[in-house]
Symmetry: C2
Subunit: 244 residues, 2 copies
Amino acid sequence: MTGWIAIAGLGPGREDLVTPEVNAALAQATDVIGYIPYVARVAPRAGLNLHPTDNRVEIDRALHALQLAASGARVVVVSSGDPGVFAMASAVFEAVENNPEYIQTDIRVLPGITAMLAAAAAAGAPLGHDFCAINLSDNLKPWAIVERRLRLAAQADFAMAFYNPRSKSRPHQFTECLNILREECGSDRLITFARAVSTPEQAINTVTLGDATPEMADMRTVVLVGNSATKYVGRYVYTPRSAL
Amino acid sequence: MTGWIAIAGLGPGREDLVTPEVNAALAQATDVIGYIPYVARVAPRAGLNLHPTDNRVEIDRALHALQLAASGARVVVVSSGDPGVFAMASAVFEAVENNPEYIQTDIRVLPGITAMLAAAAAAGAPLGHDFCAINLSDNLKPWAIVERRLRLAAQADFAMAFYNPRSKSRPHQFTECLNILREECGSDRLITFARAVSTPEQAINTVTLGDATPEMADMRTVVLVGNSATKYVGRYVYTPRSAL
C-alpha cells in the first residue's frame, strides 16, 4: 500500500468554493490533518481519521503527515484558502528538507480560492492591476522586513493584500502599518477590510486610509489596499486595468 | 424579469478546478460571454446563448454584458483563472463607469483558481512567502512602469508571478525583463516556467535565472520567480515561510 500526501486548500469558507479536486482527495483519504477549525469543515465518515491540532504547530503537523504517509496512509493536509499562500504547503516542504528520509514521499498540492481573491471578488475588483500579498505576522520574520517591503510595494504602486493583519499579542504593528501606508500613499487611498469572507458573518468595509483604524481588522480579516488609481463605481471598488 | 451579471473564473483549465459556485451560475445563465477558448469550455444547452468574441475586445464584451443584463438576461462573463486577476472583472467595472446608465446592474464576481496559484501548486510552493503578481503585457501600461515595478519588487525580495510574459509583437520585452531580474537578483535565483497548467499539455520547467531564455515562455506560460530563499527539496521548489 502506497501512501501519499495531498496539501489541500478548502477556500475561504463556503462549501461551493471548494474545488471538486479537493473533495475527491478528501473522499480517498484515510487521514486528515490540520488546524482545528479547518479539520472541522471535513465531514466525518467511517475509515477516516481526523487529526485536528492547535495553531502554530505547523511543522509538527507536517511531520505527522509524512510519518503517516510513510506507513501507507492517504493523508490530506487541509489549509483554508490556498495551501501555497501563507499556509501548509511550505511547512510540509520544510519538514521534508529537515527529515530527508521522507524525500520520496508522493506529495501533491491542490490549489484553493485564497482569501484575498475571495475578498477582492466580494468588493469588486481592487486587485485588477499588478498587486502583492504580504503576511503581516512577524512570527516568521522581523518587523523591519515588513516595513521595508510595505514602503517598496507602495513606491511600486502595487495594490496590496495583507494576511494576518492583527494579532492580539502585537496590536501596535498594524497601527504602524497604517502609518507607513498613509505616509507613502496619502490619506485618500482606498482600503478594504474584508472579514470572514464567504461565510454568514461576511463584512466588507471600504474606507480611505485617512479614516482607517486598526480596530477595523481582526484575526479573520484580510485587508486590501488599492493602488493610486483604485476607485469606486457605484457600490464596487475596482482598480483599472491600465496605468499611466 | 431581473437580469444580472456574474463575472466568473473558470480556473486554469481542468474541470475539477472549477468551483461549484461557478457551475451553479452557468446552470442559471441565459447568456455566456467571453474570449473564444473560454466560452468553448462551457457546455451548450437549450436556452443558453453563447457569445464567443476575439481577444482584446474586453470593453465591447463588457458593454454587451451590461446591455443584455439590462434587458433581463442572466449573463455569465467567463474568464480563465480568477476574473479579478488581469481578467474581465475590471473591464466590466470600467464599462459601468463609462456608461453610468448601467450603475444599478446586479454584478457579482465569482472567484476562481488563478494561474499563478495552480502553477505554484504544480511546482511545489514557490509563492510560500510574500509575493507579487505583475502583468508583463504593455498593452495597458508603459514598459517603463513594468521595469520600475520589477526592480522595486526584486529589492523588496518578493517572490514574483508574471502573467502574459511574452507576446509575438513584443518579443524583446521579456528578454529585458530577464536582464533586469539577473541584475537585481543574481543568476542563481530560481525561475519556473509553467505552461498550460492543469491541462494535458502541462509542462513545468524550473531553471536558474542564469540559464533562463526568453523562448522558455509563450502565451500559455505563467512565470514564477523565487525570492532569495527559494530552493529545491527533492523535485519540489518551495519558498520557506520565514525570512531572516
